[in-house]
Amino acid sequence: MSDSLLQSATTIEAPAAPMSMPVSPGESDPRREESDYAWPPLDAWNLTKVWGKKPGNRVIDGLELTLEPGTLTWIGGSNGAGKTTLLRVLAGLIGPTEGHVRMFGLHAEHDRRAYQQRLSFLSATGTGLHARLSVRQQIDYWARIAFVPRERRPAAVEESIRRFALVELADQRVDRLSMGQRQRVRLALTFVKEPDLVLLDEPRNSLDEEGTATLVAAVGEVVRRDGAVLWCSPFEERLELKGLDFDRQMLLEHGKLRIL
């Protein structure tokens, strides 16, 4: 990993060139016109999120983050540090109070469709599944709304079922699965569209060893095809993740990122 990348992730260093040109939503972005500037999978600068109007509710505070192609990044932090909020902002689910996020140069609001076609976000909550659908129906439904082309969809769904060891459960209703099995379904949903940027919020929730292995394999595949993966989990999990080859590890504290 290059030094400039390390610097871009810290808050104590001066921002690198791409971060020095904040752009308001709707304003033309000078960097888009620079043909020699290749946008990374994720570029966030001056990112701030304040809940409500109290200054004390500043969960993210002028954060800078760049994810380069083919990298796996870990962000840890204590409960309530703002990891989920950060991921939601990066995913375009909620807007930042200040600052900017670009994914391959795309804006979450202005280029919403293209943005969501290339990004996948696994949230930490154990929800988000339709209880009465079978595993296969669930993945097929998500592949449809994720705009996986019709000709590729059946193969993508079956591959996802196989990859996350769901073959025997494929026709079972989701509300009859264990928590770990449900998490594997959620992982299958996350990876079925072959995203270029994957944001994972505590992805090992309820997973056993086999489930974790399927997750690691899927993450590796995204990294190998020059995508980027951001893995967020509590600080303590870092010790358990030693087998994973993270390109960068950072800690989210007081709304800012600190390189470990």
Partner: protein, 269 residues
């Protein structure tokens, strides 16, 4: 694949999902039919009890009220999108729609398709029971015209569904509002009694929503109830509501979603 095909495919995915969920509750449909039957029986006997001069005969009041009951079913399906959205927010499944290229607004539109289809099926079953069991006389010559009128009316009602969905996004709880809307529409749209019975100040409300002209035209085409206004005037009203309210509903819903995303409250429930 072209963009419209992708959207169509996604909408079919939502429809298939809703159908699968619906048929997984095996007794739901049968209980709805039984409920319809009891509703029809109730008004059939009430129509024999009440003598209303303006209707001429008991069977004419029964025919009048059957169409009102059908309209209530369509109205309920309109409201269902908001309550369905509320349920999806709680289940966390709407987050997936928001995080998809299909998006929240298109997702809400797609969520309306299944309840509308079901309300049309329910309407057909209600009519069939009313004809075969309770002897309702349908005016078969003009009955096919009810289909385009119902479709046009659906366009106007969709706007109300979108506005309620926007409320669900912003205020999270819509059940009270939906109930208020249902009883309000039942009162001023002439679903169970003619609007001529209403005081003048309340009659105003009968003219500023699409339910009154839709139910009037449906009654006229299906059971030959005389119209209070001309066909063209009623049609113009419905088209006007579609043209004005549908884009308004889309704008309100997208603005509600945008606001929810900016505030960070979009996935709260």
């Amino acid at each position: 694949m072209s963009t419209p095909t992708l959207y169509l495919d996604a909408a079919r995915g939502v429809l298939a999902r809703d159908w699968t969920v619906f048929k997984s509750y095996k007794m739901q449909f049968f209980s709805q039919i039984i409920s319809m039957f009891f509703g029809l029986a109730l008004f059939y006997f009430l129509s024999h009890l009440i003598s209303v001069e303006s209707f001429g005969s008991h069977s004419k009041y029964f025919a009048y009220v059957v169409l009102g009951m059908i309209m209530v079913q369509v109205l309920q399906s309109t409201m269902m999108v908001a309550t369905g959205l509320q349920g999806e927010l709680v289940a966390g499944t709407f987050e997936r729609v928001l995080l998809s290229p299909f998006g929240g607004v298109a997702g809400v539109f797609a969520m309306m398709v299944f309840p509308f289809c079901m309300s049309f099926i329910s309407a057909l079953i209600t009519l069939t029971i009313a004809v075969t069991v309770f002897g309702l006389h349908v005016h078969w010559q003009t009955a096919p015209l009810a289909i385009p009128i119902a479709l046009l009316g659906t366009g106007a009602f969709t706007a109300f569904g979108l506005i309620f969905a926007a409320s669900a996004v912003l205020f999270k709880r819509v059940i009270g509002g939906a109930g208020l809307m249902m009883t309000g529409v039942a009162l001023v749209s002439g679903l169970y009694f003619p609007i001529t019975l209403l005081p003048a100040w309340l009659k105003w409300f009968s003219n500023v929503q699409p339910f009154t002209p839709t139910v009037e035209l449906l009654r006229h085409t299906l059971v030959a109830t005389p119209l209070a206004h001309s066909v063209l005037a009623d049609l113009a009203k419905i088209v006007g509501f579609v043209v004005v309210c549908l884009p308004l509903g889309v704008v309100l819903l997208s603005q509600a979603m945008r606001l929810g995303q900016r505030r960070g409250t979009i996935i709260e429930y």
